[in-house]
């Protein structure tokens, strides 16, 4: 009998441990709070039993059964975009043949300058924008032909606030649960859970209009999670959010991701992308110009610039061989360190000259530097030989 061992009773997604004879592995199981959501088995018409195994684990036994294509399978991409094109009615072509795959469990960063087309992609995935051509699948479900299955797997935190100004925080979250067909009892449990998690429980009876900008952002996150989607897309969730809150949002998102939710995030804060994302897509002018993992991306950074505060006056500085040094002010220099060089080399030379370094910082964060260079290359293509 195939078996599924589920960790984490809190979060929707449990890892799967079985190979089914008749059906490809199913792999995802919704469990809520300490009691498994009994609705899951019936929603998915999945015959089987759930059995408590310890405080944090459930043994889920599924009976062998024929394939149910509504479930989607773990080997399906969480998101798959094929040849997506979009020309707005005004004539702006926002997307050109966009292909993108995001694997289940990924934390994916979609980066690009203003107007690159990030929100357009997200809009199409979320059925808010009509694609001119191309297809979108969420966990294998086409958003046009299988809307219910595709949409129930998706949670969206849009770039701009879009809730009813006159409704209270809890109404907004509960209504959202209702639109996904979640029964009242479960909806209340989840609303409480996510509002507490996002520190909004004290504001549950306040009208959304009266919330601060940061609270509104968190409300949008709670709203997007109440149906426990397997794919969560956040369009600039930390725009205009203070540093403390931003860090707590990062922790929260990391936790969600560890528990199995696939996350796609857009942001203009590159340190955010660098610290959260495993894979990165860069879009510019409606085209994906880079799609790779963070490590290989950073490896492309051929050099980094450091800003050093030094003890002696810049004018007294000896000649430093091999490094490109630019004086910034009396006691500050900028040094470019290429990929084949090390900081130790630099310090050796400075030490030998008796120059002490009082502080040092990266000129920009690494991803930021890479980003500026990539987009810079586009604006200033290498001069052609005449």
């Amino acid at each position: 009998m195939p078996e599924l061992l589920c960790q984490s009773p809190f979060h929707p997604i449990c890892s799967q441990k079985r190979e089914g004879p008749q059906c490809p592995p199913v792999g995802y199981l919704n469990l809520l709070n300490s009691t498994p959501d009994p609705g899951w088995l019936s929603i998915h018409e999945q015959p089987g039993t759930l059995q408590k195994e310890g405080t944090n684990s459930y043994l889920c036994t599924l009976w062998p059964r024929p394939c149910d294509h509504r479930l989607g399978f773990p080997n399906m991409n969480a998101l798959s975009l094929r040849q997506l094109n979009k020309t707005y009615s005004g004539g702006v072509t926002a997307l050109h043949d966009v292909d993108l795959e995001v694997t289940p469990g990924d934390f994916f960063g979609l980066l690009g300058p203003n107007g690159a087309g990030k929100t357009t992609i997200i809009g199409i995935v979320a059925s808010l924008v009509r694609a001119t051509s191309g297809s979108v699948k969420i966990f294998g479900h086409d958003i046009v032909t299988e809307p219910w299955e595709a949409k129930s797997n998706l949670g969206l935190v849009p770039q701009e606030f879009n809730f009813n100004q006159f409704e209270t925080v809890s109404q907004i979250v509960l209504n959202q649960a209702g639109y996904y067909g979640i029964d009242r009892r479960t909806a209340h449990e989840r609303a409480e859970y996510y509002l507490r998690e996002l520190d909004l429980w004290g504001k549950r009876n306040a009208s959304s209009r009266s919330l601060s900008g940061g609270m509104k952002r968190r409300l949008m996150i709670a709203r997007a999670l109440v149906h426990e989607p397997r794919l969560l897309i956040l369009d600039e969730p930390t725009a205009g959010v203070d540093i403390e809150l931003r860090r707590s949002m990062w922790d929260f998102l990391r936790q969600m991701n560890e528990r199995g939710t696939t996350i796609i995030l857009t942001t203009h804060y590159l340190e955010e992308a660098e610290s959260l994302c495993r894979n990165i897509g860069i879009i510019d002018g409606g085209r994906i110009i880079e799609n790779t993992d963070m490590r290989s991306l950073l490896a492309k950074l051929k050099s980094q610039s450091f800003v050093l505060d030094i003890s002696s006056a810049v004018g007294d500085l000896p000649n430093i061989t091999d490094f490109y040094v630019v004086p910034i002010d009396e006691q500050t220099i900028e040094v470019e360190v290429r990929g084949d060089q090390t900081l130790s080399d630099l310090f050796k030379q400075l030490n030998a000259a008796g120059v002490e370094v009082t502080s040092m910082k990266n000129k920009a964060n690494r991803l930021e530097e890479l980003f500026v260079r990539m987009l810079g290359d586009r604006d200033n293509p290498p001069a052609k030989a005449v």
């Binding site: 929603i43 707005y88 009615s89 809009g123 979320a126 059925s127 808010l128 924008v129 009509r130 809307p147 219910w148 595709a150 949409k151 129930s152 998706l154 969206l156 849009p158 701009e160 606030f161 879009n162 809730f163 009813n164 100004q165 006159f166 109404q171 509960l174 209504n175 959202q176 649960a177 209702g178 639109y179 996904y180 067909g181 979640i182 029964d183 709203r223 149906h227």
Partner: protein
């Protein structure tokens, strides 16, 4: 075309219930704007047209003027309120962008339509009831035919809720939600035999009045209450049901295309 039987019946019903409750809650929450004004306006109509002027008008179609206009005024409030409720609620949702909550969710289009229409019908009937209660202070209303009265008022509320929905889909700015009620709905209602029997009109104007769909609804309703009508009842039913079918088809088509909703 989506299958008629929903793939997730339980979930679909929950979504419908949520939306109906949300729409109902909306007009109840702002009752000072939604339920009080028609009560005041219609009371004024009854005092001015019914009591003050009506006493000089005398008998119309064999009824006192007050009895004659009461069904028309009830109908008028049902029409305006169901229309206004849906158009302002749906346009408001577009304007504040929370309609996106629905568009992102798996809620099927027909549930979205049904939810908004239910809100309009609810408010239309609620106001109709309030006005009926007010009317009963001024005139002795005995309902002649209960099934006709109830079905006509219900179908009319459905039809004008659909109208409000279609208006809301096309509306781009606040002005657009006032144009139809001001320039089309109100004139047609006033000319739809609310205050007079078209038998009083010269032939030409009688013929022209027959092209006004609201005339049929007002008269069918008046038949339900008083038992007299300028037009055959079956024609009224056919017309209203025909319009409802056309309105529903158009609304679903617009939702599917995403007109005014998806860029």
């Amino acid at each position: 075309m989506a299958a008629l039987y929903p793939a997730y019946p339980k979930q679909t019903l929950i979504a419908l219930r949520t939306l109906v409750w949300k729409e109902t809650h909306r007009y109840l929450r702002i009752w000072v704007q939604t339920l009080v004004p028609p009560a005041i306006t219609m009371t004024l109509y009854f005092i001015i047209f019914g009591s003050l002027i009506g006493s000089r008008v005398g008998v119309m179609d064999g009824y006192s003027f007050m009895e004659f206009i009461a069904p028309g005024i009830i109908m008028m409030s049902v029409i305006t309120n169901s229309y206004t409720n849906v158009v302002s609620s749906f346009f408001g949702a577009k304007f504040q962008r929370h309609v996106e909550e629905l568009l992102v969710s798996p809620t099927p289009n027909y549930v979205i339509l049904a939810g908004y229409v239910a809100g309009g019908v609810g408010r239309g009937l609620f106001t109709g009831l309030i006005v009926t209660i007010i009317a009963s202070f001024f005139a002795d209303l005995e309902i002649h035919n209960i099934p006709v009265t109830i079905s006509v008022v219900f179908l009319t509320a459905v039809l004008f809720s659909l109208g409000g929905f279609i208006n809301g889909v096309f509306a781009k700015k606040f002005d657009d939600i006032a144009i139809v009620p001001t320039f089309i709905l109100t004139p047609l209602t006033y000319l739809g035999g609310v205050f007079y029997s078209i038998s009083m009109l010269p032939d030409f104007w009688q013929g022209l009045s027959m092209a006004n769909p609201i005339l049929y609804m007002v008269n069918a309703f008046r038949y339900g209450i008083l038992g007299s009508s300028d037009i055959p009842i079956m024609t009224a039913y056919t017309l209203v049901i025909g319009f409802i079918i056309a309105g529903t088809a158009l609304s679903l088509h617009l939702l599917k295309r995403g007109t005014g909703l998806r860029s």
